[in-house]
Amino acid sequence: MQLTMEGVLALAPDDSSAKAARGLTSPAKWPLLGADERAAWGECQGSGSKPYQTQVDFNGPAFRCSCPSRKFPCKHGLALLLLRAQDGALFKASDAPAWVNEWLASRGEKAQKKEQKLAEKAAEPVDPQAAEKREAQRWQRIEGAAQELQRWLSDQLARGLGALNPELLRGWHTMAARMVDAQAPGLGQRVRDAADGVRQGEDWPERTLHRLGLLQLACEALSRRPVLSPAVQADLRVVAGWPQDKAEVLAEGERMADRWTVLGVAHEERDAKLVERRVWLRGERTGRTAWLLDHAFGGRGFEQGWIAGTGVEAVMAFFPGASGLRALAVDPLGAPGAPHWPMPRMADEWQATAARVAACPWVSWHPLVLPDAVPVRHGDRLLAVAGERALPLAIGDADTWALLAASGGHPLQLFGEWDGRLLRPLAAWRADASLVAWQRSGG
């Protein structure tokens, strides 16, 4: 298993856990350390009389610890992996104790049961008529909301954006709330985003029109939904904010087995306690891009660990939709190994992006690999210059200097999320090395 300190720390639910874990990486704190090819385990001296039993299943990696912490993974689990990354020779024991074997066995069983349950659920005839009826009702409400939104959009354009004042903008928020009431929270969020962008930055009129234009497109598409392809209908469902059932995706989604290179991982704090994680993968044999979107509440961490710059054997189940990006990784995952970095031509990356926009214009993040890009400070912006194009980067101060240091003015392969205006870089690597040269640390 290929482990780096940075990669392990990236799994921490928050900074204080990462710091606490670093403090536990003294072998003296661990009276017992052991590992085999499946897992690592250890006993960590805590404040109680009995040491904590900590274990990590390399597949995933998945964590378990007997400590009472609500953080996941807890500092002990992280510290155990850090120690493993630091010095594998410390892990002297090789016969897994009963508490490790039991857990590993139960994990295997659980995964099997989950599969079984899914299969049963898929096979179950759950009164298809009732389900269809419920579905039809929700579409009806959404389509009604879209009609209302369409009229409202026309009103805004008839009145003109220049007249917008705080009072009129409150009307936009009211409209957003009506969309939520009509079970189309996705449309509501887009209205709210448009309202928040008014009078922000010099080009706000263009950007507001851009947002309203995409809403217009959604309204028109919803008005003739029944004649559209199932893939576009699925995209419209996402735009409306009606999530696909994950179990359904696992059961029926298009499946693809491959060794997936983790191109980058983005964490973003949404609300006070909600963290969104976006993981971008590229299949080594298929070249397919997969996007995993997860949320975690209150520092609970994520069930699956993904470390940028590793390669993992796994099966993806893709969500329906014309963009074909979003997927779920089917458990169990393989152990992370060396990455197989893609080396695309710039023109092909742009072509793929354009095709994706054509298929689904509502995609908010496009995965983009910039080959041979040089980060350049230009005024107070950081640009990634690749060939004759320069992409402005969305990047914080500390990350700016770390990225510059990694490049030294020489070209790097840069992966990021492109929104048509800014590239949010997540990781960089050198053409001749497999190690990550840089990865985003801040939000």
Partner: protein, 519 residues
């Protein structure tokens, strides 16, 4: 944002109600598409549909901005390899982010000795440390590598490190180097050709800011002789107080220089050898009024506002600090300790002792250091004796510390704090004293929880442990490498003991790295 939006803006901003005319047209396929979907007669719907097309097409076609200019020059080729030893790197990463400042020095010194530079990922952090620590800057230069120079040049508060690369010609280090590089260059030349270095400095001096003038003038301390007097005499009239002080300090060390001799003449006039009963005794009286010729010799007649000395005491202090210490012994026939006791018995004790301490820093003298340290007049000299102690060679300093260590009245934490205060970064104690200190700490750690003076209750000693690990002799660290970790240890105990363990691991790793990388 693409300019494609511009034609749509007027109607969208004032509203299609007021600007109801037909929409403009767009060229090419996008224009055809717009024309196709805006055939209806609802102007607002037409504007929205146009926006929908422009939004999706501009998204599909967006490829950033065009870039025609040349790229900025990349960092130069490195002469030293980057440190690649992973376990050592991890310890260094810890030291730079959480370790004591002393270990920052140790890391830089060791890497430079082994001819390695920091890997690029650590360069921003190292530059940031140098921004906050002037003392670290001279050591950072070599280990930052070309990548460090290149990065430092791009940020104002890192520019201190943006000098001339290792491949740069010697002369370029003087003309274009950082202040550290220029100091090193001047010191080097001063060693080979003292007069040449002085003349080079004299020629450049007018162009330099005050702080750099003072720092470079200080480099003349090496190889000081009579021939430097004229130049230093000129500098006594420099615009900057710092430079004037530096010149006066150096003049104290030039044999037979005229300025200190004039100063000694003024003091001699204030001293009288008087008979008191059967014994002859030296008497001193502060000047009664300021003299006209003081100003030309940098004696300031105006007493500063917050000065603790009275006006006459202030005058005496100023006169006395221009006189070499050796003169007092010659003139009175008394040794440093006798002079100290004598001064304490006069009305002008504070003026004299402060003056002597100032002279001591400009021209260190071991006998005088010892005399002051033996009976540090805490009431008169409010600063810490550590700075005077630091003037002594290590072996003499250790004698002081050893005395304190074996004195049960002095708390171990206090001894350690004195050792750390007067032991500059980069220096380590002798094996003997280190063994004693390490043993003393270990004993405190092994005391039962209930006994007095146990390490876990001694917060002062506890928090100094990581730094102590940085000054003890490498061979004496073993007893501290595995201090007992009681199951009920406090978080603070765990933190400091863990940090000490890290420091020790780092020192050992650096040592073996240097040994295996030096021929």
């Amino acid at each position: 944002m693409s300019r494609a939006w511009e034609p749509l803006l007027p109607a969208a901003m004032v509203g299609t109600d007021r600007q109801a005319g037909p929409l403009p047209t767009w060229p090419g396929e996008v224009g055809q598409l717009v024309a196709q979907v805006t055939a209806g007669d609802d102007p607002a719907a037409n504007a929205l549909r146009t926006a929908a097309i422009l939004a999706s097409c501009s998204l599909a076609g967006a490829q950033g901005e065009s870039w025609a200019g040349p790229l900025p020059a990349p960092a130069g080729d490195e002469t030293w390899p980057a440190l690649g030893d992973a376990p050592l790197l991890r310890l260094i990463l810890w030291a730079l982010s959480d370790g004591p400042a002393r270990m920052h020095h140790a890391v830089c010194l060791a890497l430079a000795r082994a001819g390695h530079r920091l890997p690029a990922a650590l360069v921003p952090q190292a530059l940031e440390l140098g921004r906050r620590s002037l003392a670290l800057r001279p050591l950072l230069g070599p280990v930052l590598g070309e990548r460090g120079l290149w990065l430092a040049a791009q940020r104002d508060d890192w520019r201190y490190a943006a000098g001339v690369g290792q491949a740069g010609a010697d002369e370029a280090r003087w003309t274009d180097g950082t202040i550290e590089q220029r100091r090193a260059f001047l010191a080097n030349e001063r060693g080979r050709d003292p007069a040449g270095a002085r003349e080079r400095l004299a020629a450049t001096l007018p162009e330099l800011p005050a702080k750099e003038r003072a720092e470079l003038v200080a480099e003349l301390a090496a190889g000081l002789s009579d021939v430097d007097e004229a130049f230093l005499d000129e500098l006594r009239n420099d615009r900057s107080r710092e430079v004037r002080q530096a010149a006066l300090g150096l003049l104290l060390r030039v044999p037979h220089a005229a300025h200190p001799q004039r100063a000694a003449g003024r003091i001699a006039a204030l001293l009288r050898h008087e008979r008191v009963l059967l014994r002859k005794r030296w008497q001193i009286d502060a000047p009664a009024e300021a003299a006209a010729d003081w100003k030309a010799d940098q004696v300031d007649a105006t007493r500063p506002q917050h000065e603790s000395l009275g006006e006459r005491g202030w005058w005496l202090y100023q006169l006395a600090r221009q006189v070499p210490l050796a003169w007092w012994a010659e003139h009175t026939g008394l040794g440093p300790a006798e002079l100290r006791d004598w001064a304490l018995g006069t009305d002008w004790a504070e003026a004299l002792l402060r003056a002597w301490r100032d002279v001591l820093f400009a021209a260190p003298d071991m006998a005088w250091c010892e005399a002051l340290l033996e009976a540090w007049p805490h009431k008169l000299l409010r600063d810490d004796p550590a700075a005077v102690l630091a003037l002594l060679p290590l072996e003499r300093r250790e004698r002081h510390w050893r005395r304190q260590l074996h004195n049960d009245q002095v708390d171990l934490g206090l001894v350690v704090s004195r050792v750390l205060a007067a032991c500059p970064a980069g220096e380590t104690l002798s094996a003997d004293l280190s063994v004693d200190l390490a043993r003393a700490v270990r004993q405190r750690a092994e005391l039962g929880a209930a006994s007095a003076g146990t390490l876990r209750q001694d917060w002062s000693l506890l928090q100094q442990l990581p730094e102590l690990g940085g000054v003890l002799h490498l061979d004496a660290l073993a007893p501290l490498a595995d201090l007992p970790r009681p199951p009920d240890e406090t978080p603070s105990y765990a933190h400091h003991v863990q940090a000490l363990t890290q420091v020790i691991a780092l020192r050992r790793a650096l040592h073996s790295f240097v040994t295996s990388n030096t021929p």
